[in-house]
Symmetry: C2
Subunit: 728 residues, 2 copies
């Protein structure tokens, strides 16, 4: 589902890097040669072939069409020379859109359209397998009721309705997309007693107010519908198996599953509409005008209530049950460190054709498999193991990747170097990325080595730093953590919710990043197809190879570095900012609160991290490190991020175990940095502050101890061979 790459302005000053982070001079020279060879491998034609093959039909999770995409992916990676494993999981999920209808009952009877148009110019638009608009994990029900307009259906919108004396009890709530994860619109509405929810795309947020509409332009039309999941349980993944993998029901190993009736799934019917249908309701409303900020872009004064003369019927019958899904993992086993895994991933299930979301990422990863497979065949196998993963059933709630991560929990905990998520990674011309602290420097270094197409020799990095602000909007308006502004660095976001990095990063403590290109999109509509892609995203298919070069460079550096190229100082830099954000948020209601103790520990951490980095830099530059020490260091480096794992997890969901980062529990989209504190602040509570300080101190101390231990490792030893084999 990929949504909202959530950015933080983190601009770190760093000077030119003659030295490639993590490499001895000799190995840097080899790596440079290897990367040069890698960059001759890309092909727009192969990228286009993969994309067009996978996106010729709609392929939602659980359908035969998605199994064909699965087989194509597996076959392509196999042909490329990767070992391919397919991991089946049985997920409790919708078996499709089911039965859906929305109609006016009073003052006139009129069915409301919930399907997109068949357009002459878009040959994909009439495909018989295209579904009506629908929301996964809707409740089932058939209700006829008055309507209440609830703006974005955010927590604060329902609070404001209540304060204005407008009850949604027994009413159908009409809420517009935007401002939060759609599942929370349903959750808040149900909590307030609503009988059902209609979620529509308002032209103030997407559509003619932003530019010319589809198909002439790339903006939402009156007939485009945003599909999407509503799942809002307090963990990520299959709703019946938190913490555990949803192994096949008929497999050898049985997993304990929750009883469906004990799981907090939505009970009321919920469905999306295009504004061409929503306006039929809105224009017949007769209640009081809306408060400031609630007016949308339709040509009428928005009102809070429909009044008793206006009745709408909403009928949803959505069958759920166990559906077999498949995670596909291609492996290129490392020549020297097979048990150190550099993991990339993107889901392959789509809401319709999935041209940008997700399969531009899928196609890019397939070409990467081919490029790296080809090099391996020529004897240029990476030192560490590369895993290229294609996830199923992401669109219904980031499920496939989560089940796989839970299944391989123990192995991942010792072996994973990093997880890199490339959901919809080639969706436009604008490069952007989000990252955990330790990978930010690597990201910057990699983008400095790749050319941006048709740009007169400028690099992806130069293009990136030329972009202003977040790619997909800021999280400020949905309560995300404040940006960290550092000079001379492109905007690098904080990882929020909404894609397959969640389990790796927020549950297992594996350093993660997400990146790629963005641009115009008809998000989760049937028009995310190849017609749109070739007209508005990239007619020449040059962006796929470009992104592959960035992704390949990142993978190969992580795979071949003598010492993992993690920026350990960055933990301190970013923590400093995030702690100040927390202090500000809590001071607002508890003026004597400070994070001074934690800042002091971070200052100490920073000093030690800088000492470590200075030493390792010198030792690598002079090739003074031996293999044993390097291996020990790399083991410790793989463990750094886990310093933030906390056994209690978050108060809003114990599955979220990272004290460093989480999606937020209110919008589901915002990135919360130091989320345990952010949650406390959101409740204006002080009760847990002493406990939180202790837990965060412990995490910082653990990280600090690990870094001190690494520095200890670096005390010069005699006699052992160098890493690079160089002479220096």
């Amino acid at each position: 589902m990929k949504h909202l790459f959530i950015y933080t302005l983190v601009l770190v000053s760093f000077s030119g890097f003659a030295q490639m982070t993590g490499f001895t001079p000799t190995n840097q020279a080899k790596q440079e040669k290897l990367e040069a060879a890698f960059k001759t491998q890309q092909s727009s034609e192969r990228f286009k072939k993969h994309l067009t093959t996978m996106c010729s039909v709609p392929h939602t999770a659980g359908t035969p069409e998605n199994e064909k995409v699965r087989d194509y992916i597996a076959e392509t990676m196999r042909k490329a020379g990767l070992q391919v494993e397919v991991f089946p999981h049985d997920i409790y999920m919708p078996k499709g859109p089911g039965e859906i209808s929305v109609e006016l009952v009073q003052p006139i009877r009129q069915p409301l359209n919930n399907r997109e148009y068949i357009l002459q110019e878009d040959k994909y638009s009439g495909h018989p397998l295209i579904t009506p608009g629908w929301n996964a994990y809707s409740g089932s029900g058939d209700v006829t009721a008055e309507v209440v307009y609830a703006n974005y259906g955010r927590k604060e919108d329902f609070e404001q309705l209540k304060a204005m004396g407008v009850s949604v009890q027994g009413k159908i709530v009409l809420a517009r997309y935007g401002g939060n994860f759609r599942g929370y619109k349903a959750k808040h509405a149900q909590a307030a007693g609503a009988a059902g929810v209609i979620i529509y795309t308002d032209p103030a947020d997407n559509g003619y107010t932003k530019g010319i509409t589809f198909p002439e332009g790339s903006q939402s039309s009156d007939f485009t519908i945003q599909r999407g999941s509503l799942l809002t349980v307090d963990f990520t993944g299959d709703p019946l198996t938190p913490f555990e993998p949803a192994l096949p029901l008929d497999g050898p190993k049985k997993v304990k599953r929750s009883d469906v009736k004990d799981v907090d799934l939505h009970k009321i019917p919920v469905t999306p509409l295009p504004w061409g249908s929503a306006v039929e309701i809105l224009k017949r409303m007769t209640g009081k005008g809306v408060p400031a900020g609630w007016q949308g872009g339709l040509p009428l004064a928005y009102r809070l209530e429909g009044g008793s003369e206006l009745k709408v019927r909403l009928n949803v019958k959505q069958e759920k049950g166990f559906v077999r899904t498949y995670q596909i993992v291609g492996t290129l086993t490392g020549s020297e460190f097979p048990d150190e895994w550099v993991i990339s991933g993107c889901h392959y299930d789509a809401w319709s054709f999935g041209a940008t979301d997700p399969n531009s990422g899928t196609a890019m990863l397939l070409t990467l498999s081919e490029s790296l497979g080809e090099m391996a065949k020529q004897g240029q196998r990476p030192k560490r193991t590369l895993k290229i993963c294609h996830w199923d059933v992401e669109e219904y709630g980031v499920i496939g990747s989560t089940e796989w991560a839970e299944q391989l929990r123990d192995e991942l905990s010792t072996k994973a170097v990093a997880y890199m998520n490339y959901d919809a990674a080639v969706s436009g011309k604008i490069f952007g990325a989000s990252s955990s602290p330790s990978l930010k420097k690597l990201l910057i270094e990699a983008t400095k080595t790749v050319q941006y197409p048709d740009s007169n020799n400028s690099t992806v990095y130069q293009h990136w730093i030329g972009q202003k602000g977040p790619r997909n909007g800021s999280t400020a308006n949905i309560g995300g953590s404040a940006p960290v502004a550092v000079a001379d660095e492109p905007t690098i976001g904080n990882l929020g919710g909404g894609s397959d990095h969640i389990a790796f990063y927020m549950h297992l403590g594996i350093p993660s990043l997400g990146g790629g290109t963005g641009g115009p999109t008809l998000y989760h509509s049937q028009y995310d197809d190849l017609f749109f892609y070739e007209k508005f995203v990239d007619p020449t298919y040059k962006m796929g190879p470009m992104v592959e070069q960035v992704v390949g460079t990142l993978s190969l550096r992580l795979a071949n570095a003598d010492v993992l190229p993690f920026d350990v100082v960055r933990y301190a830099t970013d923590l400093n900012t995030h702690l100040q954000t927390v202090e500000k948020a809590i001071k607002a209601y508890k003026p004597d609160f400070t994070v001074n103790n934690l800042l002091a520990s971070v200052a100490d951490l920073k000093k030690n991290a800088e000492a470590y980095e200075a030493t390792i830099k010198t030792q690598l530059a002079t090739d003074k490190l031996d293999k044993t020490k390097a291996a020990a260091l790399n083991k410790e480096l793989r463990n750094l991020e886990k310093s933030f794992l906390d056994p209690k997890g978050m108060a809003y969901g114990a599955w979220y175990r990272s004290l460093y980062a989480s999606s937020d529990p209110y919008s589901g989209y915002a990135s919360w940095m130091l989320p345990a504190y952010m949650y406390e602040a959101s409740l204006k509570s002080s009760a847990n502050l002493p406990d939180l300080e202790a837990r965060h101190q412990k995490a910082i101390k653990t990280l600090n101890d690990k870094i001190l231990a690494m520095s200890q490792q670096l005390v010069p030893a005699n006699g052992t061979g160098s890493l690079g084999g160089g002479k220096n």
Copy 2:
């Protein structure tokens, strides 16, 4: 036409004033008694009667209906005991809307509606004398052409069109209301070669995006039309007689008139449309999408060009000629100082019924005539002369008041104490005011003595200071002078363009203010009628009496003060801020520019003004001032504002003679403080800066010298009688 009370956040700290500014203790006691008596005179019934009598029919300038309003005003003031004079002026102006039509020619033929709807609930809405929408001083022409959308039709919009390669040569320009004075839309379009201009009200600026529309709500509907003048000559008033009064052609004194062909009147046809008609054009446009900020509120993506398939016909035949107009002046001659004039005014011509604009102000002034007349009959005649003026033909370009001011130039220059403009002064529930510096303190003192209706005994002042920001929008977006923020003072605006204070303030240098209440309005539409007034403005007619009390208090204090209650320190305070604004504007292109020399003079001015104020305050409090000295002081006080009159006038129009304040020559609406500098800055020119500094230095020095001379007058003398007759 009253538009945009333009505010500056000027918040001056002043403590409680046991002492009434300008009065000895004895006379203060008398004045307090007098004001208490005055405040028993108001009557909602009389206010309502005057308003409903005048607003029962449309009465544009030059029509028999407007002559009936004239006669009603004159008769009412006569009955109240005022001497009434009627000053005829022959103005070169439109003889009515003439012939107007707009139609689609291609791709379909369709006439476009340019009349407002007749509504069941609004009994005024079907009056046979209601005109179609029209713009005074349009050119005449019948053109059929392609269309170009020019956003607000501002200088920068036409520049942007040119930069985007869009030519308006031979095209019909479609521009939305807002952002500038409508006449400049036509002027810029004509300069760029356009064949005609259609100006429409966009719902992004007025209409459903702001709330529920008329007649259910008070926002513009798809059928409301803003009428208005287009006159943009480089002076104010009758276009053929700058500097001179447009005396009757058949009168004894002949005035030299310009030849019409030498006057820069618009040549191309221009007419307004409601958005219900404009959308028929906009939705058929096929060109490129608009840049950021140009999208309006209609449900379509706005485009720059209509393309060759879309042709619109615009036909305007507007006859112009000499029309007799009438300025009505009621006088209550002062008992002690008949040659010192305290002037109030409001126009009486209206675009249709004129319930709020202007006749709420007219009705309020008529009740004031009655209240003061009644008191005079009872022996409580003001010491200075009060003149209550009712201006004709303001709506076509602030013409009647200007001709009168030019006619009485010499007398006004010696006799006028202040001009107070009350155009549309009772248009809602929100009090606001704009003022020249010396009257700000008086304005605040007066509002502290008047109760705000139904408010649990709070004063107008308390209500006013509780309002945040400008009443009718800020001028920031149309290039006005930056606000001066001072603590503990309500928002007091700078006087800009758009009403009858212009000649008094900007041409003759008479201290001026404008004030009253505002609220919802269907500006210049036929629905500014009594139905609207009673539904949305003031159903109980309580605001008229309230405003009358403020206006009466201001008038009576100016009329009866021993020493004119001008705040002379405020010149320095405000100059300081305005000079800094100028410095910032010029520094942007000339970094070494400073206003330090002028600031030094202002500092000196401030010191001297403070010394004067301290002395006068003491001498009044102790009743040490004699009548001769007071008369000399008052003469000097009447001259202070004229220190800013500059014989060269402004570079953009020599008629604008005040170096202190002007409307701006680009939008016509914004208030420019230190306008000669603002104009220089707008051209990014440095050539005239030395000359400007010299001229401003001279003005400040003149003001300073006058204040020093006043202080000199205050050197204690012996023997003469006190002002108040008190014993102390």
